[in-house]
């Protein structure tokens, strides 16, 4: 990045009434190809205002990045803005008064009216004040199918989970891995969540995750979900990659039949030059229950105690939600924009599917919004063990799961 040029540009903008130029350090964990391209859109937009985007990417998933982000905020050396999955993760930081209140920005920009679904803004709100700027909607409920793998195996590309399960044997016979899975805990847990919604239905999901109904978690309906997950586990047995995008890469190259992964996987297909519908197929809700969860990423602005920087932070907040940036960013990222009032005609098939579901209101809260990080962590621990240990029976895992839900707060 050419800081000199950016600074020069900044001086020009100052004349137009902008606040004095500031260097804003922004931390995030978007480091894969598609993600990095999307972040670059933010940086470009911010640099154009005269401020400078100092990129603080931390590689290795949110798990690696969050400790760093949080210890810096707590240690009194906060960055100027940071990605966090919104929802309950930031609750305590807000209560401790470490994050900047950006209600005035939200009001000035009329976020209440434009942010869709409104639950996104609710997650940013504590005691009626808004503390974060949502930037995208991410939904986990997708399965990505490789056309090449199915062609090689000589079976048609399935259109729902049951067909897919049936086709697994053919894929295996053709030397393909039926299901590509990375081995990180959040992937195991996320894939399970997707199967949960698809097989068990939205109602069951809400009962367990929102109402924390341990009985439902241990019930017969849920047992089916665990059986399905156990079946998926068997299909993923030969997949021994670590990172999610390595798994996606198996699908892209046709070595694996499918991957259960959130919509961010789309960015990888895009970077690889693949076209939805031609090279790959995406099925929301595994083709069974067409819903999408509306978690997503949001940016928080730790307090700095410096008026100039605060003004710049607010400017960045407004910028992140602005229509143009939303379009550019989400097209690259493969996620859905947070505002319903923008034109995404250039979006691809999968994104359009997502937009339709969103418009129809078939939405679901995301895990981050309803479960504490601690409970999510426990579920991740359980799932990563379950997915990787074929001897861990579905019944045992379910019992443990019910226990965790019972203890959840």
């Amino acid at each position: 990045m050419n800081f000199m040029k950016a600074t020069t540009a900044g001086i020009a903008f100052c004349a137009a009434g902008a606040v004095s130029a500031a260097d804003l350090e922004v931390t995030h964990w978007w480091t894969s190809g598609g993600e990095a391209a999307a972040v670059a859109e933010f940086a470009k937009a911010l640099d154009a205002t005269g401020h400078t985007w100092i990129d603080g990417a931390i590689a290795g998933s949110g798990g690696t990045a969050r400790p760093i982000i949080i210890s810096r905020i707590i240690g009194g050396d906060p960055m100027h803005a940071t990605q966090l999955n919104h929802g309950r993760q930031a609750e305590e930081l807000i209560e401790a008064g470490l994050l900047l209140d950006i209600t005035d920005v939200a009001e000035a920009q009329g976020w209440k009216d434009i942010i869709n679904p409104s639950s996104l803004l609710d997650s940013c709100t504590v005691d009626g004040k808004i503390y974060c700027a949502p930037v995208n909607i991410h939904s986990w409920q997708w399965i990505w199918l490789s056309h090449k793998a199915y062609e090689d195996a000589g079976v048609p590309v399935p259109s729902n989970w049951d067909e897919y399960v049936a086709s697994a044997a053919a894929l295996e016979a053709a030397g393909k891995i039926p299901l590509a899975m990375g081995q990180q805990a959040w992937q195991s847990s996320g894939a399970f969540g997707v199967i949960n919604v698809a097989v068990g239905g939205v109602e069951l999901w809400n009962k367990i995750n929102v109402e924390k109904d341990a009985e439902a978690a241990g019930g017969a309906e849920m047992a089916k979900v665990f059986e399905a997950a156990a079946a998926a586990r068997a299909m993923a047995a030969n997949s021994n990659v670590q990172d999610w995008n390595q798994a996606t890469n198996l699908v892209i190259t046709g070595q694996a039949g499918a991957q259960i992964m959130g919509d961010w996987a789309q960015g990888e297909f895009q970077v690889a030059g693949q076209v939805a519908g031609e090279d790959y197929t995406c099925l929301p809700g595994l083709g069974v229950n067409e819903v999408i969860s509306t978690g997503g990423d949001a940016f928080y602005f730790p307090k700095q105690g410096d008026a100039d920087i605060e003004a710049a932070q607010k400017e960045l907040a407004a910028l992140l939600v602005s229509p143009e940036v939303q379009v550019n960013f989400n097209l690259k990222k493969g996620s859905l924009p947070v505002r319903g009032d923008i034109d995404l005609s250039s979006a691809n098939d999968c994104m359009k599917k997502g937009l339709e579901i969103l418009a129809a209101g078939n939405i679901l809260l995301s895990g981050d919004q309803v479960l504490s990080a601690d409970t999510s962590g426990q579920i991740e621990d359980l799932m990563v063990e379950f997915w990787n240990d074929p001897s861990y029976s579905a019944a045992d895992a379910q019992a443990k799961y019910a226990e965790i839900i019972g203890d959840a707060d």
């Binding site: 969050r66 609750e91 670590q242 063990e385």
Partner: protein, 310 residues
């Protein structure tokens, strides 16, 4: 430079009077302030702080007023991941202690046989110690990769049925980490052992030669008992490293497959920062501390308890 500085007792005082004890060695005490601060504030203070908070329901931020007693510990010991971590640490700890000592001593003894090219061998054995655990983990992950590494090479040589894939086999993954850990650290132990061997009087060798004791027996019966302090030093260094195993696992396996190569340090870090459950992380780290003390206190008692006089 204040060369006339007199170790704290200033010449200005009336000489006939015994000076205040507090000001005796004043310079030495002042110079030790960083050490005293570290010992008290960091090692005692921070540890105490952590132990206290392990009895609270601290989440993302410390919450000293939310006292929950032993809840965190109860949950800790009913968590499979923690139990697996403890088991792994025990296996890793014992194996790496024994293997490091044995390999370190054997290599040192071999190098001490007046061989040619001693410094070349020594450098070869020692250089991995210069590399970080992150690097170590990454390299061994690569060498042990079933598709490209040792397994595939041996298979290409014609041993089709050969399987050596520790990093993807939950039952033996900890040994895969052990191979890397030993690789990194045994050279340093070798150097310490070598230094110890060099410190042994040559007359001992002459004496055993005169008495016709075989070389191997000399090592076991005479040399090793004489090197007790060296073994203690080596033991301390290895043990201090074992409890801290973290980077290696993160780089090599990330705890996988599943949770089969988790270690306590990783559990602590992840509970504290990732799951935002400080109380749980603190409880786990307190248990780590307790296990260290369980090993350390009897040892310290045996080592220093007997000769408290001086």
């Amino acid at each position: 430079m204040a060369v006339t500085d007199s170790g704290g007792t200033e010449s200005a005082r009336t000489p006939a009077k015994k000076p205040n004890r507090l000001f005796k060695n004043l310079t030495a005490k002042l110079a030790s302030v960083p050490m005293i601060l570290t010992a008290i504030v960091v090692f005692i203070g921070c540890t105490g702080w952590t132990i206290y908070h392990s009895f609270t329901k601290s989440r993302l931020l410390p919450a000293p007023d939310k006292w929950v007693g032993l809840d965190q510990y109860e949950r800790l010991w009913s968590t499979r991941r923690w139990l697996v971590s403890i088991e792994n640490l025990a296996i890793y700890g014992i194996c790496s202690l024994v293997l490091s000592l044995v390999i370190g001593f054997t290599l040192a003894a071999l190098l001490d046989r007046k061989i040619r090219g001693e410094s070349v061998f020594r450098t070869i054995f020692l250089y991995p110690f210069a590399l970080s655990f992150i690097v170590t983990g990454l390299v061994w992950q690569w060498v042990l990769n079933p598709d490209f590494g040792i397994q595939s090479v041996v298979q290409r040589w014609g041993w089709e049925s050969f399987t050596f894939d520790p990093l993807n086999n939950a039952d033996i993954v900890i040994y895969g980490i052990l191979i890397a850990g030993i690789w990194q650290g045994s050279g340093f132990i070798m150097v310490i052992m070598l230094a110890g061997l060099r410190g042994i009087d040559e007359d001992i060798w002459k004496a055993t030669r005169v008495e016709g004791i075989p070389v191997w027996k000399t090592y076991i019966v005479v040399i090793i008992p004489m090197m007790r302090p060296v073994f203690v030093t080596a033991l301390v260094l290895i043990a201090a490293g074992i409890i801290k195993v973290y980077d290696l696992v993160v780089a090599q396996t990330s705890g996988g497959p599943g949770i089969s190569s988790e270690v306590p340090a990783k559990y602590v870090i992840e509970k504290m920062f990732q799951s935002q459950n400080l109380g749980q992380g603190f409880a786990a780290s307190t248990m780590m501390l307790v296990s260290v003390l369980v090993v350390l206190i009897p040892w310290a008692y045996l080592e220093f308890g007997g000769k408290r006089r001086d």
